[in-house]
């Protein structure tokens, strides 16, 4: 394996590969079956090495399992003790701290008895307080984890699973290819991208109404949609280099390579560094906090706000992945359109479906403008249903709109607005500034043909 490829593989494995690198690796893997096999074997070996060298002791595992069981069965544990079916906890020896990581690896396994003795106090406390642990967590909850993939939650230095109520002191660590989303009672949301690590901290005051929200971003990228905050209690997003005070806005905050980058999409944010330096960052502006650079707000480079095709030159657009540019059914004033390509159907309908798929490899199609609308002319024959989907890179999810009873055998114009797109999370919506990676128009009952023309994406009112 040459150095270029080796480093792509390693960066992919650790989750630090950028989009162009991912594209390059994918292209090479797709083109070379031998490379594909070598890559998979190498990844398996990396997994084995990680497994072998993970020497965390069993007591830590048990604490996490016990907390998860207590959370899942909040009253059962206490009830069993009360019923006499379980012995109450014994004497409480001092808790032994587990060995610090970072020294030379030890290949020897630690005796199970020593682990059990060392963790007896913590285990006893958890056993005795099985139900109250879960109840206290619910009482202390400051946010809810509404979505998680490949995410570890740590509390008190111990990883816990099967919990959705998040409390001050919790740490969320997202794996390289994972994601997580937490939601506060006022609807504010923070989305964590792969590789992010976030600490939930106690706010300025806790008066039962939620108090001030505080999050510390240790590394990685988060996107926040923040509801209007009480006067004097802005949400505080802290990083190693700076702090952002948020009153009610939509923003993106990244800690990468020793710098903090703030991009404000909507609203206003004050960014601070130290006691004296502060800057106000408005919607459409960004600021970077890094050593040797003054804190200043600058206009964010404009993303493509609108996008579309009329296909009139007869050429195949570079971002057309599935579909063919053809003359199509006759229509005054239009020479060409795009025809749906036949594909296997994952929707459970007829064996085949017809897809028109737009995507720009390694980039986004467009950034969602305010009051996003997707409009296009379509001709459908055979079946009456049309699915229109987008991949929202900011939310890391697909959102769909299904049009039923689409007239057949004639051109009609459809307009899909922002709020029409839905995902598996009923609360999820496309927001202004969201990076849209692809657009799919699909006829899942593919007995007939699908044609699309004059495709426009823009702010509300984008029509021909």
């Amino acid at each position: 394996m040459n150095p270029d490829l080796a480093i792509l593989v390693d960066r992919w494995w650790e989750g630090t590969l950028d989009p162009s690198g991912t594209q390059a690796l994918a292209a090479r893997v797709a083109a070379d079956p031998g490379l594909r096999a070598a890559l998979l074997a190498d990844i398996a070996m990396q997994g084995r090495l990680g497994a072998l060298l993970d020497d965390r002791d069993g007591g830590q595992v048990w604490l996490a399992v016990e907390a998860a069981i207590a959370s899942a069965h909040s009253s059962t544990g206490a009830q069993r003790i009360l019923d006499g079916r379980e012995r109450p906890p014994g004497p409480r020896p001092a808790r032994r701290r587990s060995a610090a990581r970072g020294g030379p690896a030890s290949w020897a396994r630690r005796p199970a008895l020593l682990i059990a003795a060392g963790m007896a106090l913590a285990s006893a406390l958890v056993l005795w307080t099985g139900a109250p642990v879960a109840q206290r967590r619910a009482d202390r909850a400051i946010a809810t984890l509404v979505e998680r993939t490949d995410t570890r939650i740590e509390t008190g230095g111990v990883a816990v699973a099967e919990v959705t109520a998040l409390a001050a002191g919790d740490i969320l660590r997202v794996g390289p290819h994972g994601r997580a989303r937490l939601r506060y009672a006022d609807g504010s949301e923070v989305m964590l991208e792969g590789g992010a690590a976030v600490h939930l901290e106690a706010g300025q005051q806790d008066d039962g109404s939620g108090g001030q929200k505080r999050l510390r971003l240790e590394q990685g990228v988060v996107t926040a949609v923040v509801a209007r905050q009480p006067a004097g209690l802005p949400m505080r997003l802290l990083t190693p280099q700076a702090e952002a005070l948020v009153l009610g806005t939509r923003l993106r905050l990244a800690v990468v390579d020793g710098a903090t980058r703030l991009e404000v999409i909507d609203g206003v944010v004050e960014m601070r560094r130290g006691a004296d330096e502060r800057v106000t960052v408005q919607a459409g502006e960004s600021a970077v906090a890094q050593a040797g650079t003054a804190l200043a707000a600058v206009a964010t480079p404009a993303a493509q706000a609108a996008w579309g095709h009329d296909f009139e030159d007869g050429g195949r657009p570079a971002d057309l992945m599935h579909g063919d540019v053809v003359p199509g059914p006759a229509r005054a004033g239009s020479r060409f359109c795009v025809q749906g390509q036949v594909n296997p159907n994952e929707h459970g309908g007829a064996p085949l479906k017809r897809d028109i798929w737009f995507e720009r490899p390694g980039a986004v199609l467009f950034a969602a403008p305010a009051e996003l609308e997707v409009s296009f002319d379509c001709w459908l024959s055979g079946g009456s249903r049309l699915d229109i989907g987008v991949w929202d890179e900011a939310r890391r999810e697909a959102l769909w709109r299904t049009e039923h009873a689409v007239p057949q055998g004639r051109w009609i114009r459809l307009t899909i607005s922002c709020d029409d797109f839905r995902s598996t999370d009923p609360a999820s919506r496309i927001s202004v500034g969201d990076q849209i990676k692809n657009l799919i128009i699909s006829a899942p009952e593919g007995a007939g043909a699908l044609y699309v023309d004059d495709l426009e994406v823009g702010a509300g009112g984008a029509r021909r």
């Binding site: 480093i7 630090t16 893997v29 090495l49 399992v65 816990v160």
Partner: protein
């Protein structure tokens, strides 16, 4: 597994079935190391492995009444873990297909396939023993590099700072070390 050990685990399982949580705790301590190894090979990341490990034990706690004492507690745990991992990889593959993440999709498909085939417990234990022995044969500096990468979890840039070598060079070195270990394991199998 040693028959006496398997019997002891079965006795703990019976106690746990009777509602003894202390017995379940001891079951966890007795089985977590091997189960963690099994899961970590198939999980793809440490975060996923932790999640799967805890999910497996919570599921085992909830289903403990279904376990039939037959000295097969470890395979029973592995089956729970395997089912969870298969479901997770299937979801990951769907996610990767939507996202166009080819490499993620390939890894997910291969992981799902490996889990479906599943190697016997004895084979997995033998592989782990061989890998441990092969690691011992590496020069000290090579073992240190492997330890920093897979025990401490350092990324390439941090490794480059610690070892004062370019990340590209370390990446190739790591790849060659992994190939060396794989060949060593295969020779010991032969």
């Amino acid at each position: 597994m040693d028959p006496a050990e398997a019997q002891r685990i079965d006795e703990l399982a019976m106690d746990a079935q009777a509602g003894n949580r202390e017995a379940f705790r001891l079951l966890v301590l007795a089985t977590e190391r091997d189960l963690r190894c099994y899961i970590a090979v198939h999980a793809g990341s440490r975060e996923s492995a932790d999640e799967a490990l805890q999910h497996t034990y919570v599921a085992a706690f909830e289903k403990i009444a279904q376990y039939r004492s037959s000295r097969t507690f470890r395979p029973w745990l592995r089956a729970i873990a395997r089912n969870h991992l298969v479901d997770r990889w299937r979801e990951s593959r769907r996610f990767a297909a939507l996202d166009g993440a080819l490499v993620d999709g390939l890894v997910a498909a291969a992981a799902e396939d490996t889990l479906e085939r599943d190697e016997a417990e004895q084979v997995a234990e033998a592989q782990t023993r061989r890998l441990r022995a092969c690691l011992e044969l590496l020069p000290e500096k090579s073992r240190q590099l492997i330890a920093r990468r897979y025990h401490d979890g350092l990324d390439l840039d941090e490794l480059a700072r610690r070892f004062r070598r370019p990340a590209r060079v370390l990446s190739v070195t790591l790849f060659r070390l992994r190939q060396t270990l794989r060949r060593c394991i295969e020779e010991r199998e032969a």
